[in-house]
């Protein structure tokens, strides 16, 4: 969390702009700081893990490691996608100790946003989403919801206990 603070400070310094990688899940568009993304693997077939919590989409091999991949649709409570999703590899700030994957429907491109365009979560948002989202940027072609990769960490998600059976029946 300390480092997130630093990052936001940096943003202030650097002309209050940030570059986010946009991605899609369901009808909405999300953005994650490009600095936190290690690689976009593209569409991948995942090896499912039986008996795993619902938010885990499976595991994927990545550079000799086995990455646990979070199913973002499951987090949002969306039904499972029939198509194979896109996998992003996110870096944990704590020295790459816990690298993990995130599966979304698709990945857009890099978007530069102004810090002042960010608006906090609406108060009507349900608690799960309130915890997940960091607010939304008002873009010309719609809203871009900012995500914090720290909160998407599998161990963090498990700790909160909110998503254990979250969303649609994911566990196969």
């Amino acid at each position: 969390m300390k480092i997130v603070g630093q990052a936001s400070e940096q943003m202030h310094e650097e002309a209050e702009s940030a570059s986010l990688c946009s991605m899609f899940a369901g009808q909405e568009t999300f953005g994650i700081d490009t600095g936190k993304i290690r690689e976009v693997l593209g569409k991948r077939e995942l090896e499912r893990v039986p008996m795993a919590p619902a938010f885990v989409a499976g595991v994927v091999p990545y550079r000799g490691d086995v990455l646990t991949t979070v199913n973002f649709r499951a987090l949002l409570g969306l039904p499972e996608n029939t198509e194979t999703g896109c996998v992003l590899v996110l870096d944990d700030d704590s020295g790459g100790q816990e690298r993990f994957g995130l599966m979304v429907d698709g990945v857009g491109g890099v978007v530069t946003v102004q810090q002042r365009m960010l608006e906090a979560n609406p108060c009507t948002l349900d608690s799960k989403c309130k915890w997940l989202f960091d607010g939304a940027y008002k873009m010309e072609n719609g809203l871009l919801i900012q995500l914090d990769p720290q909160k998407l960490r599998p161990s963090r998600l498990a700790e909160t206990g909110m998503f254990r059976n979250g969303g649609a029946g994911e566990s196969a």
């Binding site: 090896e47 893990v49 039986p50 008996m51 795993a52 091999p61 161990s155 998600l157 498990a158 196969a172």
Partner: protein, 700 residues
């Protein structure tokens, strides 16, 4: 320094050099800490130095108390060093402990005279005349000072750092360079190019070399682990009132670092057991005609691809009757079973979980506390535990561990459309069940399904159901892998078997580890992932317990084997019998297959030359029949313990298998081995490896 101190105790004659070494270590600590401004540490070190100074000058003899004091000093120093490492300061607490320790050290130093006479009752170490030795300046300067100091201060971070031979590192770097070059060539030439196969081969060899080098780098001498035992054994021996000498051999045997960590606890446990329960009190030892000082031997060596670590004591051994009595009392075996148990089987009882609870066998017979834990831990890393004991002579515990953990042979299976890897170590056998036989062979006991495997019921676990996977339509049938781990034995039903592979174990993230069923994951040859099934955890999840009854069943069956005979006819009209235990197979062999060399009949049997015994001249009779197609019945016999002494016995006819009683040998029956089998007189086949005959005769 710790090593020096314990060595000092055992070899007082070398004390000059050792004390010098310790003195320098403490002095260095003192100097450095004074320089860095850690006053508390300095004060303590100073007190120690003072005492050591007296010791070095020969003013004090080396005694057990003295060494204990010094060891406590060492602990004190280490505690402060750890504190410094953690917090960056030595802590404001000008603790009572320190003062206490300093006074104690001072007392040891100053009031050694009266103190000594008071404490004379504890004759743990013979008081050597330090005075004899001349009082020279410090012994030959050794470069060990800085090392000793560094070792003390870095002991806690030792788990995370590793010392590697520079040469190994260089070789690794070279290989990585080669790997990069090969990759570049591959990228440039592309798959279509003509030299692609050659590049692939080179990549293969470079990878193999690199793997070997990395493995080598991970290898740590077992001595690192042994190093902490002298101190532990010493402390333990003092608290238990034993006299124990510890001996090592094979310290240089290499073992993967992670494995070394894994066997640390079991080994510590074993050593503690040996001192606590194995070795008797000095008085008892003297009574038994043994030297008062017990000996604990730690040995490490390579044996057929695995590393064996042996903990041997020359203590009282394990009293079999007591073990059996306890087992019966605890309901692990019935009295009848206990009566028939062999020594080896009885020893295995110690590993049963029921034996491990407090107030079990320990108080009466020796071992047993947590032996099941020892076994479980060693089995977890793919090893095994053996126990040997002779009453009055000693006990030997053998831990057998594979060389490395990272790469394990495994069988890849498919279930519910997913791949899983089963470690080969747990795999006993594989059974194929065709779909049409399913109804017949899968039987039910209540709600649980069992399979009759060689007349024993084996609980069946359906992997797809257990993991709530999608069940695939059964096409041809299914496979059952018979698995054994931590005493559980069960059949795991899977849809299909894929190839056996050497897999590289990759750890799973914490979230997935929590599931508790998978010990890791691996990337298969075809690039997909497979989860590695934790055999013991799967058993627990499926409700398979390490059932005692099951094992008891086995032993009962075994005993029946030993007491029963295979009755056959070799000489015409005469009944001859062999104990069933020595008969491996009954084969029907075409007579043309039997060959002769220098007058003896031989049979090529499974790549082995088998000598044939034909006491009844069955073969001659067969040849007289002039029938090329005829075949004879041959009993393949062998010692179940050693496969070397196999032989074949030619018989006319196998009659029966049944229980029987040996008759007492006496003059009336002409010193013949006779037995009553089914109320009929039967000769016992003689001349089969004498020792073997003896062992089963005892049983019969």
């Amino acid at each position: 320094m710790e090593r020096c101190l314990t060595e000092l105790e055992t070899r007082p004659q070398d004390s000059q050099q050792l004390v010098g070494e310790i003195f320098r270590a403490v002095h260095t600590i003192k100097g450095t800490t004074g320089f860095l401004g850690f006053s508390r540490l300095e004060k303590l070190a100073h007190a120690g130095e003072h005492l050591l100074g007296s010791l070095r000058d020969g003013r004090l003899p080396v005694t057990g108390e003295l060494i204990s004091g010094l060891l406590r000093l060492l602990d004190g120093l280490r505690a402060i060093l750890n504190l410094i490492e953690e917090t960056g300061s030595e802590g404001p607490r000008e603790g009572e402990e320190d003062t206490l320790l300093i006074t104690e050290l001072a007392m040891l130093n100053g009031e050694q005279g009266p103190h000594e006479t008071e404490e004379k009752a504890a004759p743990v170490v013979s008081i050597k005349q330090q005075e004899e030795a001349p009082t020279p300046a410090a012994a030959a300067a050794e470069p060990g000072i800085a090392a000793a100091n560094a070792q003390t201060s870095s002991s806690s971070s030792g788990d995370k750092t590793l010392r590697i031979d520079v040469e190994v590192l260089n070789r690794m770097m070279n290989l990585v360079g080669e790997l990069v070059l090969t990759r570049n060539q591959m990228l440039q030439s592309g798959v279509e190019s003509t030299n692609f196969p050659e590049l692939a081969r080179r990549l293969d060899s470079v990878t193999a070399d690199l793997r070997e080098t990395v493995m080598q780098a991970r290898m740590q001498p077992v001595g690192n682990l042994f190093g902490k035992f002298p101190r532990m054994v010493r402390d333990l021996a003092r608290t238990c009132g034993r006299e124990v000498r510890i001996e090592f051999s094979g310290q240089e045997t290499g073992l993967d670092k992670s494995l070394l960590e894994a066997i640390k606890d079991p080994l510590t446990h074993a050593v503690r057991n040996a001192v606590d329960h194995g070795i008797e009190a000095p008085a008892d030892r003297v009574l038994a005609g043994k030297p008062a000082e017990g000996c604990l031997r730690l040995r490490a060596f390579h044996q057929s691809g695995s590393v064996v670590i042996e903990v041997a004591d020359d203590g009282a051994g394990i009293a079999m009757e007591r073990v059996l009595a306890k087992a019966v009392e605890r309901g692990l075996v019935t009295p009848d079973q206990a009566k028939e148990m062999s020594e080896r089987e009885a020893l295995q009882l110690i590993f049963l979980p029921g034996f491990s609870t407090a107030a079990a066998v320990t108080t009466v017979s020796g071992r047993g506390v947590g032996m099941d834990v020892v076994r479980a831990n060693v089995e977890k890393v793919g090893g095994s535990v053996e126990l040997e004991s002779k009453v009055g002579v000693g006990t030997t515990l053998r831990l057998r561990v594979p060389l490395t953990l990272a790469i394990v042979p495994a069988l890849v299976v498919r279930s519910g459309g997913q791949s899983f890897a089963l470690p080969q170590t747990a795999l006993v056998e594989l059974v194929y069940i065709p779909a049409r036989d399913k109804e017949k062979v899968v039987e039910r006991v209540g709600a649980s399904e069992v399979y009759r495997l060689r007349e024993r019921l084996l609980p069946m676990v359906w992997l797809d159901r257990l993991l709530s996977l999608k069940t695939e339509t059964e096409a041809h049938g299914f496979y059952m892998a018979v698995l054994e781990a931590e005493g559980c034995r069960y059949g795991l039903v899977v849809d299909d078997l894929l190839a056996p592979e050497e897999i590289v174990v990759k750890p799973l993230s914490a979230v997935l580890r929590e599931i508790g069923l998978f010990s890791g994951a691996t990337v298969l040859g075809n690039g997909t992932l497979a989860l590695i099934l934790d055999i013991a955890a799967t058993a627990a999840r499926a409700g398979v317990k390490p059932v005692m009854e099951e094992q008891a069943d086995e032993t009962v069956a075994l005993h029946q084997d030993e007491a029963s005979f295979l009755v056959f006819e070799d000489r015409a009209r005469e009944r001859t019998a062999l104990p069933l235990g020595v008969v491996e197979r009954i084969e029907s062999v075409p007579i043309s297959k039997i060959e002769y060399a220098s007058g003896r009949a031989l049979l090529q049997y499974r790549g082995e030359l088998l000598q044939l015994r034909d006491d009844g001249h069955v073969l001659d009779d067969m040849y007289d029949l002039q029938d090329e197609e005829a075949s004879v019945t041959i009993l393949i016999c062998g010692d179940p313990q050693t496969t070397s002494s196999r032989m074949g016995i030619v018989v006319r006819k196998v009659l029966d298998v049944s229980d029987g009683n040996m008759l007492e040998k006496d003059a009336a029956n002409g010193e013949m081995d006779l037995a009553l089998v089914n109320e009929r007189l039967t000769t016992i086949f003689r001349g089969f490896a004498g020792e073997l005959g003896k062992s089963w005769r005892e049983v019969a």
